[in-house]
Amino acid sequence: MSGAPTREAGRGPIPARAGVGLRAPHYKEILDRHPPVAWFEVHSENVFCAGGFPLHDVERIRADYPLSFHGVGLSLGSADPLDARHLARLRERVRRLEPGLVSEHLSWSSVDGRYLHDLLPLPCTRAAVIHVADRIRRVRDYLGREILIENVSSYLEYTQSEFPEWEFLVEVLERADCGALLDVNNLYVNAVNHGFDPLAYLEAIPLARVREIHLAGHSRERIAGRELLIDTHSRPVAEPVWDLYHRAIERFGPVPVLIEWDADIPPIETLLGEARRADRLLEPSRAVSA
């Protein structure tokens, strides 16, 4: 199942295998060595530039590997109007690089035109469901293609929330009629931070909605004498997250899964090792569905 994808794989759909988050420190090595990775995912904003190696290297990598776009700056949950300039840049790059999947987050990151560059949690209210689902639909119509929506990690809950996070996510997915990018690490982080059963969360997501899974590492911190998990993307995937991932693919079947690493980025070999492990766990479900 391993081995470098063929050249024809470029521009193909995202396979139900383990991919790796594409980060600038690895561009050169990927181009030089062509490591065996089933697909890559780039942060959409990292190809917004007009030129230079950040764009050209990704274009060259894209010629040889399936590529997906993962946005961190659209601020879907903001009370501000959708950022027309950001959307226009996204659409232009989607047309140029033809990613196999496009995703964004169920969060907000700007208010009154000021960006916080973090994936901030929304209150789980009916009003927020209506607001964000409407915006997801508008983005999909503007781009002319589906976008997947990812659950985010959080370190607080709002008093005004009317239902649990998983119900909020499902309500948004149903109302926007869109697919989910299920981040299993975020799910686990929130289950620990907010004290809910992660399996109940998995059970709540309709089977057909999940089109992609994310895996990443988190850190444990003690804050005010209590443990809080922080979604740092700076470490290997934690064992309980691997367990939960196993349960997720049992439930959702073979879907593309991505290893993300964004801080203290290790050699690509480390990411390949994580991807191999994710792939091994995927194999039984692929055999069943084949």
């Binding site: 050209h56 209210t125 005004q160 804050i223």
Partner: protein, 257 residues
């Protein structure tokens, strides 16, 4: 119940201004008090902005060290909103900020080092030029040369400093040069930041060459640009300079106007 906008405004005030009064009441405490929960977000937000600045302003970072840089970057981040969802757009005002940043007042060359870092960042991400064709230039009557307008590469940035910036940046960013010393009185630098291929390069030029390129970049015709260069350097071989700029891909097109 506050509106979504009210909640998000209160959240942003807590992050940037430390004013948690409005948002704390909207957060469930559950074991960890709201201010501690908000501090996680404050660290994330300010940390992301700091890291973005550190990536771009590598010379400044090397000159002042990580602790000082983090402090300066955080002061800048609190008072300077990021207005784009793309973090690569953040930091244009940092050189100006450093000029007025009292703790850095003794480092007179710091704002210029920051300008150079930002010029490199802009150059890296600038558009690619349309491929130019200079073969027909040979057929132009020399009498018409003054009327030629040259297109300058969109990634070209020109920067002048009273300090030896080229050497300062090299020592800060090239490990092989880390042991070298800079004499601040060594004189002014005229720098060209260019991106002939996919990567950025910095070169020093003479004041005359600098005037020529600056005039061409402003869209002045070749004749007027030569006058400016010769005013600075009466013995300049402008024709040789021009060939060098074409060869270096800093000029990417031309038209006779």
């Amino acid at each position: 119940m506050p509106s979504l906008r009210e909640l998000q405004r209160a959240f942003a005030r807590a992050v940037f201004e430390g004013d948690e009064a409005a948002v704390a009441g909207l957060i469930r405490a559950r074991g960890i008090p709201a201010p501690d929960r908000l501090s996680v977000y404050r660290n994330n937000v300010l940390g992301n902005l700091r890291d973005a600045l550190a990536d771009v302003f590598e010379t400044v970072h090397a000159l002042v060290g990580p602790e000082f840089f983090d402090h300066a970057a955080e002061c800048y981040a609190r008072r300077t909103p990021s207005v784009s969802g793309d973090l690569n757009d953040y930091g244009a005002g940092f050189p100006e900020f450093l000029r007025d940043f009292a703790p850095a007042a003794s480092l007179v060359y710091l704002p210029d080092a920051a300008r150079l870092d930002w010029a490199c960042h802009e150059s890296l991400l600038a558009p690619d030029p349309e491929p130019g064709d200079f073969t027909a230039l040979a057929a132009v009557d020399p009498a018409d040369y003054p009327r030629i307008r040259f297109e300058v590469h969109p990634a070209l940035r020109l920067l002048r400093s009273p300090y030896p910036l080229f050497r300062i940046r090299r020592i800060c960013t090239d490990p092989a040069a880390a042991d070298e010393r800079v004499d601040l009185a060594a004189g002014a630098d005229c720098l060209v930041v260019a991106r002939p291929g996919a990567h950025v390069e910095i070169a020093t030029v003479t004041p005359g060459q600098f005037e020529l390129l600056a005039a061409l970049q402003r869209g002045e015709p070749f004749g007027a640009a030569c006058d400016r260069a010769l005013a600075v350097d009466p013995d300049a071989d402008v024709s040789a300079w021009l060939h060098a700029q074409v060869a270096a891909a800093n000029l990417t097109g031309w038209e006779l106007t």
